[in-house]
Every structure is written in C-alpha cells, then in structure tokens.
Homo-oligomer: 526 residues x 2
C-alpha cells in the first residue's frame, strides 16, 4: 500500500526547493541550446512527443523531480488506482475511467461485474445502436434516417465531448467519416436550448440526454425543452431521445427513451469522454470505428503513464514540472495554447479537468493544506491568442507557464502559399518563434520594447489531429492532473465545491431566503 | 495638464494599504447585509446597474478609493484623452475610440479633419453600403442578393466583432432584425479558412477584410484563401470583397475590393468594435439601425465615465476596486462570468481588451514598475462554468475575484417550467446563490465540505442583452481598463509585447535561424 503524504512533508520536496534555479536564457543559448531542444524531448503515444527544453529545469532538477516522484510513490499510486483501490476518498469510490479504454492491471470487480467487461459492453451497445442509426434500421417515426445528433448535458457531459467532436469534425469530413452533425445544449439559460432547437431539423434529430445521476437540474430542464419542441412538431419524443446515465438513475428505466447506455459512479464527469458520455455522440457523429481509434490512442498513452521513470512517462514529467512551477517557482496560472483550430475548445475542457480536479484546499483525508494546489487554467488557439492576451504573457508583471500543442500537418489539406510559405508553415513558424521569444526574451534600449524572457513553456508535437492522437492527448492531460493530485495529496475525483451554490439556488427557487441572498434574489424579481 | 505618477508614489495608495480589511462574511450577514445589497449599487447606462455589495470594501475604503481617484487625477486624464491628448505615449498617438460613438468634449482634429466627423462619415458610408446590400442594389455578379457576410481579421478585428455578433444574433432573429448570417475567419491555421469557406455559399457571400495596417500576415493569408475560393468558383473576387482599413494602408486603394471603409491609428484594434471594424459586419448582419443603437448605449456609458465621483461612475469604481484587489489584496487573476448564453464569447473579448492593454511592466515613460499591473482574465458563461472551474473558485487555494453579469430576461422569449420555475428563474437563482456562496461560505464539520467564503464578486445587472445594453456593457469595460491603466500609470494603448514573436517567426520562414530557434523550427520541418 502506498503512503499518502502531504507535499510539504517530503524530503525530496525540501531538496527541490533548494536546487539551483535555471535561467532559460542561459540554457537555451547557442549550440548548447539547440542540443537541449533535441535532448529534452520524450516520446508520447501515437508518434507524438513532449518537449520540455523551454522549461526551467536541468539534469539536477530532473533528478530531484525523479526523487519526488519516487518518494511520493506516484507510479505505485497510479497502479493502485487502476487496480481498483478507493482513490476517491471523499465519496469512497474507485476511479476507473482508464478501464474504458484498456486493461492496465488486474481485473476490477464492482457491483458484481468485471468493470472492464461492463464498459466494453456499453461501447458495443453504443456501436450497434450507432450502426443501426447510420443504416436507417433505427429511424424516426416516418422511417426516415436521423441526420443530426444533439447532446444535452453540462460540465463533464458537455465540455469534453464537445471539444472532441470539434477536434475531429473536419478530420471526419475530409476522411469520409462524417456520419451526422452534432450540436450541444448545456446552459440552463433558455436561449441556449431555444437557439439550438431552432437551428436543427428536429424531425431528423436524435437527442442524447447525459446525466450520470439523472438529477442534474440543467439537463433535466433542457430535456423538457427538447421534449416540448418534439411534441410541438407532432413527433413522439420517445423515438428521438436516448440516455447516457448510471444504471441506478431515474433515466435508466424511463419510457421517455428509445434506449439507455450506462456509465457508473467510478467515472467522474470530467473523466468521461472515453466512456459512453463521449462514446454515444462520437460514435453517432463519426462511426464506432473512429471512437475505437480514439480509445486506442488513450490506452497507448495510459500504458506510458505506468512507467516510474519520469523520462519515459510524459504525463508524470509534465505533472512534476507543473508542481515545481506552482510550489517552488510560485506561478499561479497556466495557459494552454494549441496551434490548431481543431483544438478550439480543448482548453475549455482542460480548464474543467484541471481546476475541478485539483482546485482543493484540503488533502484526501480532509486536512487543511499549507501549500498551493491547482492553478488557474485558461487558453485559446494560436495564432489567435498572439493577437490577444500574449501581450501580458510576454511583458506583464505575472509569469504564466505555457503549454503549447502543435502539429506538423493540418486536417483539411487545403492551403495557400503567400510570401513564399504556406499557412501551415506560418502557423508552425509562429509556435517555434513564440517558445524562443518567451524563454530568451530580448533586450532593447527602449524598455517598452524589451522582453525579460524566462517565461517557461513546453510543447506537445504530433503529426496531425486525428482520433488516435486526440485520445493520446486527452489521456496525457487526464493522467497529468491525476499525478498532480497525488503530488498535492488531494482527492482529484470529487467536487464538493459545487454543492453550496446548488443548495442556495434551490433555496432561492423555493423562496426560502433571508438577508443578502433574499436581497440578491429580489434584484431578479425572485 | 494631469500629473502622470506611478501608483506606489501616491499618498492615497499608502493610506489604502493601511485601511482595515473588510470581511465579506461580516458585512453581508443578517439584515445589514441585505441593506448593503441595495446600497452598494450604482446606475449604469440603459437601465443597468453595477452592484458591488460583495466586494471587500466599506465606506472607509470607498473614501480611500475616491482619494486615490482624485490624487491620480483619473477624471482629468480621461478628459485629456477624449480631448485629443497624446495618451498613447509609446506610439505617440491620440486615443479616439470614444469619438466613434459620441462627442464627449472638444472637437478633435487630426490629419486635417474633425475626427468625430470622419468617424461619423465612415459609419454613414457603411450604412449606405449595408442598405444597398440588403435591398439588392449591391449584389453578386449574377445580380443575386448576398446572404452571408464573412469577417476576415484577427485579434481586435475578430474577437470584439465576433462577440458582439454572437451577443445579438438571437436578439435579431426574434426581433425581425436578422439580415445576413455572419461567419468569421481568423487563425492562420489553414483549417480555419478552409472549414468556414466550405460551410458558406461563396457565390452569395460578402467578405470583409479587416486590417488597420493592411499588413497583418494572418489576414492577408486568409484573404488569399478567400480569393482562391472565389476564383475556383468562377467568381470575380472584387465583387465579393470589401476592406476595413486605414487610409494609408495597401488595402485602401486596392482594386481587389468593391469598397473600402476607414479607421485610423487613433483606434486600437481591441477598442475598435464601435468603429468600422465592428460597424461593417454588424450593420450588414443586423442593419445600420441596430449598430446605431449599439453606439448609443456605448455613448451613454461613456458620459457616465466622465464623472469624478466614484459613486456616480461605475467604470471608475470598478477599476479602483480591481486595483485594490490586485495591489492591496494581492489577487492575480479575474474571472468574467456572464449568466447569458448570448455573451458566450464576451469573456474572450475582455481577455484581449484587458490583458493586451494592461499586461505591461513599464510605465508610460518606459520606466520599470515595482508593482503588479493587469491581471490574468478568463471566463465562460454561467451556469456552464459552475459545472467546470467553479470548484477551484470556491475551494481552491487561490482567490479569484469575480465579475458576474446577469439579465432579468432572456432574448428569445421561449422557456419551460420544471419543478415550479422557469429556466430563466433557475439561471438567475444560480447567479444570486453563487454571489452569496462565494462571499459568505459555509462551515461544515467535514472540512472537505467546508467553504471559507471571502471570495469577492460584483455583478452588472440589466433587463436583457440588446444592442443598447451591449454597447453600454462594452464601453463600461473599455473605460474600466482605461482607468486601471491610468492608475498603474501604464500606456494601455500599445502592444509592443507582440513584436518579438513576429520578428522571430519571420526569421523562421526566411530560414534565417540558429541555435534553439533553428532546432524548434526543425521539429516542424521548417
């Protein structure tokens, strides 16, 4: 059994704090700098690589990070997790999302079944269902094919699947894999459901209602919105709705649905993109084979994440460097900067994944922590961000560590040559240039045109965004966040911080308020 | 003439640092707390209000903030700005975006013309053009009406206009103002232009190429992409392209365009939504009268921003509280949380507006500053964010000040009643609940379910998102950022931090690299 200890009790962490700091200007200078770019780079799954040459580490700090990983028993903790230990201490649950994409260790049994088989079976049910929809065997009341799929969910049931859909939409269109258009309804603001419903042909739309508990107020409300729209169009809503939920939820056995697909309490919403939550919409939109490829990429990355050697385990190394930046260098936020339009909403997904997992002030035993945990995460795709918030990143008073993601090729294969280079070359020239500009800066006699540099970044590089690389990328960040949770000794798999707002909102709607809450409610006439 | 001083030289700032800190739990408790919600609220334009009851201020701190505003001569500096002083010291330019929507002070002359008249004339040219497009007088080569408008621009030529279009799209659809669908191309990633072009009917599309300098590489590249697509479709691209640029730019007199509309060097990209940059696309999409309403709302808010009394000037007060949070309380980031799906991309625009304006380390004279300036800005619409990053906001180790925005009514007027309340009521109950939950927290015997509270927030409340309230909202934030720039004594109107990356990217494309830059370029085969 692993020992669960606070970060600030570890000898290796004390040593790390005392290690000599690295100047990026120095280590990236000259031919030594060029060599470092090649050396500080480790393989990821699916031909990708994690390059950390522009992070403020050197061999001594890397050795300190390895000691930290060993002393905090990170590989062992991951092993216990995938073998079914109760890692989610708050809710006393196992954490099994890795099983949706592979068998990393021993068989795990719960609820009387082998969980890997359970998840595989749900994927198979989804695949069968999707194939029947695509063939027209499952059709609307008039026997016509469904053309559109609309996911109704919020948070983990929305951000991940939406980001994955957008990441693969264009890839699918140019590779003959585009089966159905997908749309998403999430917000309880009625304008969200109303606008999406007005934009689709409801008679040929299939709606996926996604809520693990079957009690998420936003999603149930939007389900009603959808059912109203179907009924107003004279359609039988039970022929248009499917559910992704847990077997014990009120949605599981409801007559309102054509079919229900299951997940369970061992998969958190923000880790559910590789479960039925992502599986239903992605299989319907692109076909089950595309979803299978996505799972394969994730599984390959998971396998790398088992390694105790930080130079063979990119998620582990990324996690350690992030904790070094947060708890030794004192940086408070991290920007995610994909140089790919396909990854447009990937930062929003990672924002949830990271901030909801590790935005905690107590350790896994409920004891208050005396150190910083999860950072603020934000980001937009490059080169757009360059013309927006990069000014602060380059010349602001706050240093923000950066996580670049880049690809050698685009998805659609269309390009133009202007001034001797393609758009793709310009895109990639920009990401290379930014890394160096942030790290090394540039002196200028006019201080307003001067750049201090010393802004650390890493870059993940791949051939192109496709189902397999996307799966690997997702697993990398999921595992990074998990390892950081282990390092901080927090429970990354509950989210008690969302409860108080829910309780108070319910009180407002029941008109059971007083004091400031009553006064704020009155502003809105509630 | 105003005195331009660093924040840390001000007596009032020293006093403010020593003022007794406010506990939100205390001041929002009981009936006093309820009264505070009514009292700490000041009017904005267009029936909106700025409520700061959940900010960590009291009458003593407010009095300190007034002294700070007076000592730093904020109202006088704004007056000098709108009367045409050289406020952009880096580029030695006037800052005139307020003139696009009103005459706040004296006539301002530059380039031999009255600038207010110049901007008005451009708006009129745009209105005439848009009316002719809508009537079919200006049509495609076959004499058919244009149905779609595509804005090609990046940064300030994209984020603001895109956020404004999305904010008004549904309002326009239900109010009979929807004239043309708008799409946007920004990223140099060729997948962006390729996908947008594949999604529109190019034969009936009008393209607006927006670049003040006429030399923005991304935009010129995407212009070529568009021209290629038009030519491949056998169309005369000059009949489909218009430009928004400066009179001295290469685009101004080019035969490639049907018509050019002008802005100038006195309007920064991130402040250009009320100029032709926003005007062309919004007038084409919704009609010139809608754009006029938008300008009217902005002008009304600008007028409020002239007041030296912080309790009559919401932008000024908002700015002062933000600086208090940044430089006295030490908070590093700010979240923008609109409870309105219409404001989906408004946070991305404010991220640029704020971080590009005030992410600076030197003062307006080029001297290094010894204090923190602009914060990191991020945000997503509520209630989506509640199911994502709010965990960290409630229970993380970092305190993030929050800027809520809420509206009594939705735009589309469609709603459902579930469990006794409408979606709109649920939306608003949530924002009221969140403000109180963040501020006052809640103790629990299980520390994992405990909330420390003391998370400050303000809320802007309006009737609904419409052209006038949107204009007022935009002007509020523009002026807030301006006042914060004055407080920090930085030049909020240049962006030298974007230059180094551009220079290095050009070098990569010219294969003139060595060392680390050459090594990073080689990764991408450049």
């Amino acid at each position: 059994m692993a020992n669960w200890k606070n970060l600030d009790t570890l000898k290796s962490f004390e040593e790390l704090k005392n290690a000599k700091k690295v100047s990026l200007k120095n280590v990236l200078a000259g031919e030594e700098g060029a060599l470092r770019v090649g050396k500080y780079c480790i393989p990821m799954a699916e031909g990708m690589a994690y390059n950390f040459a522009a992070k403020a580490v050197d061999d001594e700090i890397l050795s300190g990070l390895q000691k930290l990983a060993d002393e905090q028993e990170l590989a062992q903790k991951f092993q216990e997790l995938y073998n079914g230990a109760i890692i989610n201490t708050g809710e006393k649950r196992m954490v099994l999302h890795h099983l949706t994409r592979g068998q990393l260790g021993e068989d795990v049994f719960a609820d009387g079944v082998n969980k890997r088989e359970f998840y595989l079976n749900e994927v198979k049910k989804i695949a069968d269902f999707a194939n029947k929809v695509h063939s027209g065997e499952i059709a609307n009341g008039n026997g016509e094919k469904f053309t559109t799929v609309v996911q109704v969910g919020i948070g983990g049931s929305d951000l991940g699947p939406r980001a994955m859909y957008l990441a693969l939409e264009n890839w699918a269109k140019v590779n003959g894999k585009f089966k159905m258009e997908a749309k998403f309804i999430s917000n309880v603001d009625p304008d969200d459901a109303s606008a999406v419903l007005a934009s689709v042909d409801v008679a040929h739309s299939l709606f996926i209602i996604v809520s693990k508990s079957g009690t998420t107020l936003e999603t149930l409300t939007n389900q009603s919105f959808v059912m109203d729209a179907l009924e107003k169009a004279g359609l039988d809503s039970a022929k248009h709705l499917i559910a992704v939920t847990s077997e014990t939820s009120p949605l599981a056995k409801s007559d309102a649905f054509l079919q229900a697909f299951f997940m369970d309490d061992y998969i958190g919403g923000r880790y559910s993109s590789t479960s039925g939550v992502g599986g239903a919409v992605l299989s319907l939109a692109f076909g089950p084979d595309v979803f299978a490829e996505f799972l394969k990429g994730a599984a390959e990355e998971d396998t790398l994440s088992k390694d105790a050697d930080i130079l063979k385990n990119p998620a582990l190394l990324d996690a350690l460097i992030g904790v070094y930046e947060r708890n030794v260098l004192g940086f408070e936020s991290t920007a995610i900067l994909p140089y790919s339009q396909a990854l447009n909403r990937f930062p929003a997904h990672l924002q949830q994944l990271d901030m909801e997992s590790n935005g905690k002030s107590v350790n896994r035993f409920g004891e208050k922590l005396a150190y910083q945990t999860g950072p603020v995460i934000f980001g937009e795709p490059g080169t757009n961000g360059q013309h927006s918030f990069y000014q602060l990143l380059h010349q602001g008073t706050t240093i923000v560590p950066l996580q670049f993601i880049g690809f050698k090729n685009n998805q659609r294969g269309q390009d133009v040559v202007i001034k001797g280079s393609t758009s793709q070359e310009k895109l990639n020239a920009n990401v290379a240039a930014q890394i160096v500009a942030f790290a090394t800066g540039k002196d200028h006699e006019n201080p307003n045109k001067s750049f201090d540099g010393e802004r650390p970044s890493s870059i993940i590089i791949g051939e192109s965004v496709n189902p397999a690389t996307l799966g690997a990328l997702l697993a990398h960040f999921e595992n990074k966040v998990m390892f950081q949770g282990f390092l901080w000794n927090v429970n990354s798999f509950d989210q008690e911080g969302v409860q108080l707002g829910k309780v108070l909102a319910t009180r407002v709607l029941a008109h059971e308020t007083d004091g400031a809450l009553k006064a704020y409610s009155a502003i809105f006439g509630l």
